[in-house]
Symmetry: C2
Subunit: 381 residues, 2 copies
Amino acid sequence: MRDEGIPVIEPAARVGDPVEAIDTPALVIDADAMERNIAAMAGFARERGLKLRPHAKTHKCAALARLQIEAGAVGVCVQKLGEAQALAAGGVRDIYVSNEVIAPQKLARLAMLAHQVKLALAVDSLQGIEQLALALQPSPASIDVFIEIDVGQGRCGAAPGQVAQLARAVQARAGAGLRLGGLQAYHGGAQHLRTAAERQAAIAQAAESVRTALATLRAAGIECPLVTGAGSGSFVFEAASGLWGELQAGSYLFMDRDYADNEPAPGAPRFEHALFVKSSVISRGASHAVVDAGHKSHAVDSGLPRVWGAALDFTNGGDEHGIVRGRPGEPLPDLGATVWLVPGHCDPTVNLHDHYVLVRGGLAAGRVASILPIDARGAIR
Amino acid sequence: MRDEGIPVIEPAARVGDPVEAIDTPALVIDADAMERNIAAMAGFARERGLKLRPHAKTHKCAALARLQIEAGAVGVCVQKLGEAQALAAGGVRDIYVSNEVIAPQKLARLAMLAHQVKLALAVDSLQGIEQLALALQPSPASIDVFIEIDVGQGRCGAAPGQVAQLARAVQARAGAGLRLGGLQAYHGGAQHLRTAAERQAAIAQAAESVRTALATLRAAGIECPLVTGAGSGSFVFEAASGLWGELQAGSYLFMDRDYADNEPAPGAPRFEHALFVKSSVISRGASHAVVDAGHKSHAVDSGLPRVWGAALDFTNGGDEHGIVRGRPGEPLPDLGATVWLVPGHCDPTVNLHDHYVLVRGGLAAGRVASILPIDARGAIR
């Protein structure tokens, strides 16, 4: 049922428009760069015999998930059941909710979805496992259950020594459809340590936790089918460990300013910026220009956007404004001129927009190749 | 035209549900508190003979705009033309776009809207005035034009000494429908100076700029019909100045954590927190609990949310998680338990959600009284 009370947001451009005709602010993908990123990551995983299950919390778009799967990904991850529902509606058939779900009303929705697509869920508590089994009881469907362990982030996840108890609880509910998928081991805090050595050290610690968990399972006579995890900042190290069998990196697709600020890891593919906010100058002072993009067009949780293609510094202008100043020798853009921004953090920036405008032929002189809906925008439940 | 590609977001509750049944995360209004805020602000303006034109960039909701207008507001402000279109579609008849619009394709939309509702626009450049007149030419409709002056924020706005030239340019285009509305004088940077004395000093400076602009207009023989501006942190001072005739405060409706952290101004009404994110515990460690609300449920540009009704400290858990820890003596909430959050900044938090869930009877034991669509959510253009 569509809520008639909510007006639709029209896309900022039409297919075939030249780039300069894209209304602002708009979320623009350099489709050529994005496809190179997809191929590079798929190649990295393939060469190492690892599964790739990109995190769709980044792009929230069924069409982009399908592109990743066509390039070799086994499916996608999401963080919210609502994201899984939106992507399933868009034709994605293999979805892992890599996060805990506890509320009975959500688990009832999850049980319904498990009849439509191959579904997996992370758990870190006996209560979570019991609630899941209860929700599945009326009409059992298979769900792969991954035991999340805390590998250093200090957020969700059981202690590595507790995994046998949780794994046994999953196995005891095979009749309800629960199947032990393996271990969820993701270290979010490691992704943005700036030097490669710091990230390598953090993942070495995480690997110790994984080894402890695997030893605990072995001692209990439980086989672990798969360890899944890793992000765009650290996946080279998880891949090299020999422990992880599946990589969940998501941001490699777009490469935001914050990931680009990392020192690259040795052997990592070089991903390109592929996601931009197109903005326009709406006010011009003597020493600064004001663009029409602020907090409501780009997320600021990981810092401000960087201006792309011009020696301009961006400072915060509030919810609807950004302020740019020229570095020595750089002229200020005129009223109405375009300013391209590379978002500080791609995932929550994407979540502010309703559509992607995909451009081919470059940002300077390209054309709009397609418009993609951001299917799971706002799917926070 | 609705884009069939984008799935609808279902509301988190149904009318009549008890509060505990509201799915999470959800944006919840304490309707009783909000109505007291509306009445207090309307009373403040009425007692001083000032117009009140609340900023709808805060709530983005036609039904809430109508409540404010029924309580005495003359209309609302918005920052984006898309917001104006969404609110007009929801029955709001008097809308001021208190921001610069330069792009011809946007001004063409604005010209169409000017035939449907009473519309006003801010300008700070001759080019902006010319483009507006051009856009209106095919089918003139009256638009009130406010000359924005920079009163200390260093963002948009002409220098106070330039206003006569701009005002004359507006008056010269009366045939195209442009009418001089007066001066736009808003000091965003003053709103969150923590002490009342600092805010008073900033507005005293802003008032000097307004006096200069008014003198410049008088010297040019131009009458200024109205000075409009002020925000929830400073309106007491603009009101006391005798210069501003219209107040644009918006956040008073909800009172976020950041505004509540201000030392109250003498004589200001005491506004109550009326906007909350309801979250739930999805993971429980020994010394922390993890809730299902992160950057995608609440904005963090003005700092983190504060936990409401429990002595818990909130720390950042990323896009989809928040981490809470108990202060001495406060038990950690159980798995599945509700944690209420007061957002750091209401405006961009609202923009993350599709609906408000309005509760009457309090957050502890109340019921859902209504669900309101956030009409201009995502209306960034």
